[in-house]
C-alpha cells in the first residue's frame, strides 16, 4: 500500500471519528423504540412537505399583519407614546405564531411510517398528549393500493398508500406520503421476500 493511500485512510478515519458540535443535526442512524437487532429498515417516511405549506405561509403572513396597524395608526402610537408597548405586543404576537408553526412542524416530524423486513409500524402523533403506534406483520398483507387525488398530488408525486390486511376491518393508511408508488413496490417486495423466507 502506498504512503498516500495510508494517509488517506488515516484522514478518513479521523474525519469519521471527529465529532463536531453540530454533528447531531447531520448524522444520525434511523432507529426507533422496540427495534430488533436483526431488523432492517426498508422505508422510513413522513407526510409530504406540502402539508406544511399552508400553516407556515399563513403563519408568516399573519406575522406581518401588525404592519397594517403601523400604517393606519402610526400617528396615534407616537402621540400617546405607545410605540414601545406596541413593539412588545408585536413580539409576543410573533412568539405565538412561531409556537404555532413549531407545533405543526413537531406534529409533522413525529407522524411517521416505518417498513422493516418484518413489519410495518404506523406512528400517529395526534396531539401533544395523544400518540398511537400500530404494527402490522408483513405476512398479514393482503393487498396494497395507491391513491393520488388532485393536481398537486399528481404533479408533486404524493398520495395515500392503503394496506389491506387479512382481517377485513383492519387497514393501514400511509397518508400524503411522497413517492407512494415506489413505497408500495418496496412493501410488496419486502412482503414477498418475507413470505419466501418463512
Amino acid at each position: 500500500m502506498k504512503t498516500e493511500e495510508i494517509k488517506e485512510i488515516i484522514n478518513e478515519e479521523v474525519r469519521t471519528q471527529t465529532r463536531g458540535w453540530f454533528d447531531f443535526l447531520i448524522k444520525s442512524e434511523i432507529d426507533f423504540e422496540g427495534r430488533k437487532q436483526s431488523e432492517q429498515i426498508i422505508v422510513f417516511t413522513r407526510r409530504h412537505w406540502l402539508v406544511l405549506f399552508s400553516p407556515i405561509v399563513s403563519g408568516l403572513m399573519a406575522s406581518f399583519l401588525p404592519f397594517i396597524i403601523i400604517v393606519i395608526g402610526a400617528q396615534l402610537l407616537v402621540k400617546y407614546n405607545l410605540s414601545g408597548l406596541f413593539t412588545l405586543l408585536w413580539i409576543i404576537y410573533l412568539m405565538m405564531i412561531w409556537f404555532f408553526i413549531f407545533y405543526k412542524l413537531t406534529m409533522h416530524s413525529l407522524d411517521t411510517w416505518i417498513v422493516t423486513d418484518e413489519r410495518i409500524i404506523d406512528i400517529s402523533q395526534i396531539g401533544l398528549f395523544s400518540r398511537k403506534v400500530s404494527e402490522l406483520h408483513l405476512t398479514s398483507i393482503e393487498d396494497i393500493s395507491v391513491h393520488t387525488k388532485g393536481v398537486l398530488q399528481s404533479y408533486l408525486d404524493f398520495g395515500n398508500v392503503e394496506i389491506q390486511t387479512a382481517a377485513n376491518a383492519q387497514r393501514f393508511l400511509f397518508e400524503e406520503i411522497p413517492k407512494p408508488i415506489i413505497i408500495k413496490d418496496k412493501i410488496m417486495h419486502a412482503a414477498s421476500l418475507h413470505n419466501h423466507q418463512r
Partner: protein, 65 residues
C-alpha cells in the same frame, strides 16, 4: 393597586412562563419520540428562534416608558 408598568411586567412574565412551558413540551416530544435528524433540526431552530424572541421581548419590556 398595581401600577400599569407592574401589570405589563407581570402579564409578560406569565406569558413567557407559559410560552417556555409549551416549548419545553415540544422539545421533550421531539427528543423523546423523534426519529432521524429532522426532529433534532426542528428542536435546534426552535430553541434559537425562541431564545432570540425572548431576549428581544425582555429588552423591550425594560425600555418601555
Amino acid at each position: 393597586m398595581p401600577t400599569t408598568p407592574q401589570m405589563i411586567i407581570t402579564a409578560s412574565t406569565l406569558f413567557l412562563i407559559g410560552y417556555w412551558t409549551g416549548i419545553f413540551l415540544l422539545l421533550y416530544h421531539l427528543i423523546r419520540f423523534g426519529i432521524g435528524t429532522h426532529p433534532r433540526r426542528i428542536a435546534f431552530f426552535m430553541i434559537i428562534i425562541s431564545l432570540l424572541l425572548t431576549i428581544l421581548s425582555v429588552m423591550l419590556l425594560f425600555t418601555i416608558k
